[in-house]
Amino acid sequence: MAEQMRVVTKDIDVPGIDTLAVYEQHGGYQALRKALGMEPAAVLEEVKASGLRGRGGAGFPTGMKWSLLAKGSPKPTYVVCNSDESEPGTFKDRMLMEKLPHRLVEGVLISAYATGAKQAFIYIRGELALAARQVMRAIDEAYAAGYAGKNIMGSGHDIDVMVHRGAGAYICGEETALLESLEGKRGYPRLKPPFPAVAGLYGGPTVINNCETLSTVPAIIANGAAWYAAIGTEKSKGTRIFCLSGLVNRPGNYELPIGTTFRTLIEEFGGGVIGGKQVKAFIPGGSSTPMLPADKLDISADYESVAAAGSMFGAAGVIVLDEDTCIVGAVLRMTEFYRDESCGKCTPCREGTFWLVQLLERLEAGHGRAEDIDLLNDICDNISGKSFCPLGDAAATPIVSSIKLFRDEYIAHVTQGRCPFRARELATAGNH
């Protein structure tokens, strides 16, 4: 079987790697040691030169994000790790926290040093109890060993790290909603600007990065920017942890160089589609990214190629739908998620997602009308770009992209007055 390229997940299968002693035996905290011997600005330059881009969804260059931090603010600077992972189709941050908590803690410490932050928070999704326990234990071990806290490793620098657990709200993955939640409020997104880099947590300049992004930093510092930048494509550097799910034989997390094709991921690593079936469509970056048809399987999985194909690399949550999957049924299920998770602040998103589910339910039940298909598009049009945060846009995405690709299937639900796939699903997965 093809091999993964383990950079962020290096040593993940070593027994006890979640403990400080074993992590240290495998080079743990050497990157922090090296960073502390450099000027903070040099550490930042190294991350910039590596080409690392955010793994949380938007793909913003990490080094650049750090350099945008407001200078000379009277308020303290903060580093916040976004471990709220709740995008349907993504499950990599949970794995990193459960199995390699020290790599995350080391990455957070290096990032805090590079940006001049004396306090870092790791915001962990409330549902992930084991992940939270693991990261908290790693932090305790790091304090006891002098890697965190006062005068870390005798450097004269103080950096505190603590875990903050969420309490069940997808919207808190959005960076400004996350800050509100961390301040003890409802997770409502803030109007931007000001961006968190200028006025974030408690009004101080704040860096927010995804868990995988920060867990990548130790490898960059340990091996150098050039080493990291040699992996991947010309514009998309490094590896990504692809979260492969849906109807494949071997779903799971696979760390691969950016630029691997989706076909290689699905066929070589995922063992192909269950039952030797064909791929009907795949979602490349988590449920908020447009679905792509099977003829795009050979594109390179990188930010630019996925965008050129009409979707987004997002959080690399690759969901595979097979030839027997009912597109309307699958889209209905994804839309229910956004209806339930809309925070309710903006009317177009709150009301729109409700109507979208109603229409899709009607279509799936065979009671839909031909006009409903364009009505779905109209409602999506009224949600997209009309809310504070991109959750509404995300809700519109599965619908708009699937109608573009599979309008015939929507029409078949209307003309046949039933779901054409229903019989099969009752017989096999029983998903109705």
Binding site: P88, Y170, Y202, G246, F337, A429
Partner: protein, 157 residues
């Protein structure tokens, strides 16, 4: 009842944060651990410890899905219903649990032992279908495994 020990833990939590209000979520979690859900007494305790008005505490508590607004069973079973679990049979799993426990999703068994909930993506799509029992994962829940789990849960009652 919110015990003095729980109040002490709440105060210790507040002390860890640069700003007291940031402790509200963890403080509410302690309240829920004490009483099973967020009670008026829990809201009052959180309000006292964090130093904000009770109705503000309630506004926050009601926003987050993990804070229960009414009593739940001793064991809370959460089944993921999102897309990747859907593709791998979570609806069938829920049906099996409903039949086996004798409740519909969203309900609690009359003896107060189990609450069955359908929830959004639990970040376990690679091991779908998945459920949580009191926040701990059970992954790759085949029909056989579900039957086994139910036997086990019931025998522990």
């Amino acid at each position: 009842m919110i015990s003095e020990a729980a109040r002490e833990r709440m105060r210790a939590t507040v002390a860890k944060y640069p700003v007291a209000r940031s402790a509200l979520l963890p403080v509410l979690r302690i309240a829920q651990e004490e009483e099973g859900y967020i009670t008026p007494e829990g809201l009052r305790a959180a309000s006292e410890v964090v130093g904000i008005k009770e109705d503000e505490v309630e506004m926050v508590a009601s926003f987050y899905a993990m804070f229960f607004q009414k009593p739940v069973g001793k064991n809370v079973i959460k089944v993921c219903t999102s897309i990747s679990c859907y593709l791998r049979g979570c609806d069938r799993l829920i049906k099996q649990l409903e039949d086996g426990l004798g409740v519909k999703r969203g309900e609690t068994t009359p003896d107060g032992a189990f609450t069955l909930l359908g929830v959004e993506c639990l970040a376990s799509c690679g091991t779908a279908p998945v459920l949580q029992v009191n926040d701990e994962f059970e992954e790759n829940v085949t029909p056989q495994r579900a039957a086994e789990l139910m036997r086990q849960w019931k025998s522990e009652q």
